[in-house]
Amino acid sequence: MSTFAEFLINGISLGSIYALIALGFVVIFRATEVVNFAHASLLLAGGYVTAVLHDELGFWPALLAGVAGAAVVGAAVEFFVMRRHRGADHSVLAIVTIGVDILLATELTRRIGTDILSLGDPWGDSVVTVGGVTVAETRIAALLAAGLLITAFLLAFRYTSWGVAMRAAAENQETAALMGIRLGRVSIGAWAVAGGLAAVAALFLTVFPTPGLERATSLAALKAFPAAILGGLDSTTGALVGGLLVGVTESLATGYQGDLAFLGRGIGDLAPYLVMVAVLLIRPAGLFGTKELARV
């Protein structure tokens, strides 16, 4: 039972990280209707900046620099690439982000090489045991940080003028523009926020028990895609639920993979995608996504 509780807590913690990434993905989609396939590379960029700077600056300033770095990369992608394409077909824009992803990912994996970089986090591999349930400190920190950031984000989304502008732009771009909302700012803001959230997620994807930042980290980050999709691409609630669902499934499938040996090794990495396919078969717009209604 206590192992199950451990898997569950680890899963929720992992899921909150996925939710953080998926949230950024959804924010970009809502603000600009562009699916950002370069999201995993943004995350890798944030993690890389933190990893390079933590020796000189110390951990917390380096983390801030990583967040800022990823936000700048996100904003730069928006400003130099996406903005030039505004008005183009959305599937073409999605392919443009794939081009950006190829560029960013090649550069970052070349820099990282075969190294495994530490991000210099203060938690190390210490664990906390409560009532027979042992959980790594990093997992608790991840849960707290993700919870805090998500709450802050949702509050800002609801109550600040930035959030109102963003929601208005998501509702109807033309009307929002006519009401004096500067779509360019909304969209660059969305990309920057998404980058920042991804950088925090990068930290928690690479701390104990994972060895550190490596090439494969972007593969782990990719699991936020099924999270965002199965929740529904245009729903922030969906991103959270999807993230948790994916995290818990992955954690349980990895934890019990001894019992699932007939499915082959590494079934945990596959579980998020299988859950996504199952959900999409029943609900093609995801759990919380807006069903498309079109007027002809």
Binding site: D89, H90, S91, V92, T106, R110, F225, G264, I267, D269
Partner: protein
Amino acid sequence: MSETLARSGLRVGSPAVYGGAAACLVLLVLPFYLDRFWLQAGLFAMAAALGAIGINLLTGATGQLSMGHAFFLAVGAYGYCAFAGDGADGLAGLGLPGWLAAVLAVALSGLAGGVFSPIAGRLRGAYLGIATLALIFIGQHVLFNAHDLTGGYNGRAVPPLSLFGLTFDDTELLVAQVPFGAVEKLWYLGLILLLGGVLFARGVLRGRPGRAMNAIRDHRIAAGVMGIPVARYRAAVFVLSSMYAGLAGVLLALVFQRTVPEYFGMALSLEYLAMIVIGGLGSVAGAVAGGVFVSLLPQLLNRYSDALPLVSAPGTGGIAPGEAARYLYGAAVVAVVLFLPGGLARLAARRPGKPGSGKGPKNPTHTPTTNEPSGEAR
């Protein structure tokens, strides 16, 4: 018929016909002069072109984003091995004749696409793109784990193809004093397959199905109202695209002579998307051009890495040729959409003397988004 000919710009005596004939002749005599490296590179380009035609039918002409193309290539490649293998290496094999195995492998790819059609027929846009991402990971999982069928991490050897008593392996055959090995023989097979693939895809795109596909891409609801069975068309295009991928997979397997699971990863799917964007969405010629560009680029850089600035041999610390190629085609994707919507195909069509000939179907980048109802956009 005459309208079709006129539209394609193919009139007897026009420069395009002479140019095409000359190009065909050059392609036919190349194996007599080029060495193994170039022929192999050319064969990779042909396989890539076939695969790119497939994904261009799906993503370019019908507007269905697919990130799972590599999966269907893998089905084709491994399907061929499994049908043609004789089980001598301890891996499952039916021992069928090579040509039958190749046909069955292509059919199997189509079947795999058909199995996915409950999803492919219902999801659109980004949802479909990410759902097809699942195929890649499922495919990789199976390839690494189904050891008896795929050989696991080390992959499996590809049995040579034999057709009409001619075996496409390295037993040398003297043709006009030139020894023909596997690549020389496969070169002609590749040319025939590519020609067939191009003609078939052009036929599909220029006829009724092509118009229906473009209508679905440009406005799904309007297409449905006009009586196009949208869901059935989408599923059918998905199957057809998978079969093209399967054929490309078989050809690749024959050239590689060994299939390894790592090759069929996500990077390959992204490469195919890059090909069709660079070449031109929705156009067959564009798919071929893009396929040749993206698949030849790393090999050229690799070959001439000594002579090129900034590029150095792999493992020496600088930018390896493979990475340099990825930088180039990643940038090409972004640049093409920025500066050359319609890709290389439109560049060719824009030549002076043919003003606005509009070769290839209208590109989706030119669809004014303001005409779309807001619901259609997501």
